[in-house]
Symmetry: C2
Subunit: 340 residues, 2 copies
């Protein structure tokens, strides 16, 4: 094993779209695990839109990164040294070490062995990882989804959105996806089999387009985009409609003053709308049960996913920027080491 | 009994603040109740801020009034003729006949005999009526209020707000009231015993003022005002905070384009905030139990209320306007006939 490893750290607080100049690639000494600690070689690191919120130094519930901190993301890795009785050398694990070739864990927090269900390793950082679990608990716990409802998913070709759209279909809903561009929309329609797909880039007025597609109204808005879409869709919500605030990718890179202001709030009273956000770590005790249910859907061919894999840690900053610019879709991963 | 009665009807769709020119006072023939119907002489009619939403002809979940329809409000009345076995001449009832000296009911919908619990008759249209029930179910069902939480109530000197503030106190919360003007604030502090009161007219930046008063943050925002206040308070919400959208008195008289847009929505994710509106008629099956609990609080001196009573139906349009301009506070009623 080499004495050093590389990681990506925050070089300056980010204003607007993040890019390579905002990060440093540092070489660090591989640490020696202390009592109860586990040393991990990371195989994959994820690029997560939600990680953007931690790069600007502002106060949030999740503490912001300080300059020099390793930038965010989740990992799949393999234990290379363990002083923790719960983990052995060679174990495959999920963790939250960020964009880093190595990680050191005390065995607590988001750190767990991968149980082998004959699925590709990368599934554990995507469809069965934080994005997939966000879709699952957003629909099941937050929305309390029921068969026969109409669900609308924004950023439906993204990892969270595509998983949410398929789960809503599996659970018996009529599902409408909103995405940008004909390639994404064709995939949602032809591969995922959504009931309707709207290309917001060509649809003209979004409210009108949705209303034509779903004249019955929307029971569940699973939103990954942010205020502009929420505001446009609020007047279309049905009685007792639920808005799941899953992500705000359209707002993450904006200063508060530039964020679209939601005005159509009368629907909260007239239609008893409920809007609620989630951070899926609150559902941690139920992760295994959810992953088992989703794994069965994957094996049955009902739940599919796309991933884009970059090679090498030095790709992370530019790939993170590309993700916001919408060039690719699906889960964005960086491979840091070959799979064992 | 006279052959005719008076009622206030919508003369034109209202743009901005409603006033006397928007209504007609009509004289109509007293109807003969048909099979199963009940004829009521109204004793009180209420002026309700929420009734504003029905005056502009726009689409809402509650159907808007047509021109010539009797304008909104609830009533206390006495049965003068009944062809319904559930009601007898002389019964005191609550109903929703609007600003009208007489009402005709088929015995369904919001129409019920007043059970005698030794309380002033007008309590049944105020603290035990729709405003008080909105406060009760907004806190109990929508917010799921718990002892030890910090609750902030806006328009706290209004009928809904003052009831909500007192119920939150009774249920063991720290309660902060926001109101406009020193008279209202003194009443909230000295008579209602709230833990803190903020005069939004003199406090300067509302977020700063609230943060100084409640550095621990807000668990429950019980909002009667609308978007501007919600936006200012969102960043102060604690983890798992709940926003009860009870009323939007600050927005009812505005065109959508002029309504303040809510931008501070990041808290929905970071603090798992839940925002939900209510129309209290959804809780109708639980009204009696709620009224019994509140009646006990009133008798124990824990739940007090103010009312302003206007004399005669011709006062309703101007009094309705005055209510929005904030001259008086508490429940606004029009007395249409002497109490029996």
């Amino acid at each position: 094993m080499a004495d050093t490893y590389r990681c990506v750290t925050l070089a300056r607080f980010v204003d607007g779209l993040p890019g390579p100049d905002d990060f440093n690639i540092e070489t660090r000494q591989v640490p020696e695990p202390g009592d109860g600690e586990v040393l991990v070689r990371n195989i994959y690191a994820s690029l997560d839109p939600g990680g953007r919120t931690r790069l600007s130094g502002g106060v949030s519930y999740i503490p912001p990164l300080a300059l020099g901190d390793v930038a965010g993301g989740f990992n799949i890795g393999q234990v290379v040294k363990s002083n923790n009785t719960g983990f052995s050398t060679g174990d495959l694990v999920v963790g939250a070490f960020g964009w880093s070739e190595m990680g050191l864990s005390n065995g607590r927090g988001y750190f767990a062995k991968i149980e082998d269900w004959d699925l590709p390793l990368s599934a554990w950082i995507g469809v069965l990882g934080i994005p997939g679990l966000t879709a699952y608990f957003g629909l099941k716990r937050v929305a309390g989804i029921g068969a026969g409802e109409t669900a609308l998913v924004t950023s439906a070709a993204g990892m969270v959105g595509a998983t949410a759209a398929q789960i809503a279909k599996i659970l018996g809903c009529r599902v409408i996806g909103v995405a940008g561009g004909s390639v994404k929309c064709a995939w949602l329609r032809d591969e995922l089999g959504l009931d309707a797909v709207i290309d917001y880039k060509t649809a003209g007025d979004l409210s009108t387009a949705i209303n034509e597609t779903a004249p019955e109204g929307i029971d569940i808005l699973f939103d990954n985009v942010g205020n502009r879409f929420v505001d446009a869709i609020l007047p279309l919500m049905r009685l007792n409609g639920r808005i799941v605030v899953s992500g705000q990718i359209g707002d993450y890179n904006l200063a508060t003053k530039d964020i679209h202001g939601i005005k159509n709030t009368r629907a909260f009273i007239t239609h008893r709308v409920r809007m609620e956000g989630l951070v899926v770590f609150d559902d941690r005790p139920q992760f295994s049960a959810a992953q088992a249910e989703m794994a069965a859907w994957i094996k049955a061919g009902k739940l599919i996913y796309r991933e884009k894999i970059y090679e090498g840690i030095e790709c992370a900053p530019q790939a993170f920027r590309d993700m916001f610019e919408g060039t690719y879709f699906g889960r964005h991963l960086v491979r840091l080491a070959p799979e064992p």
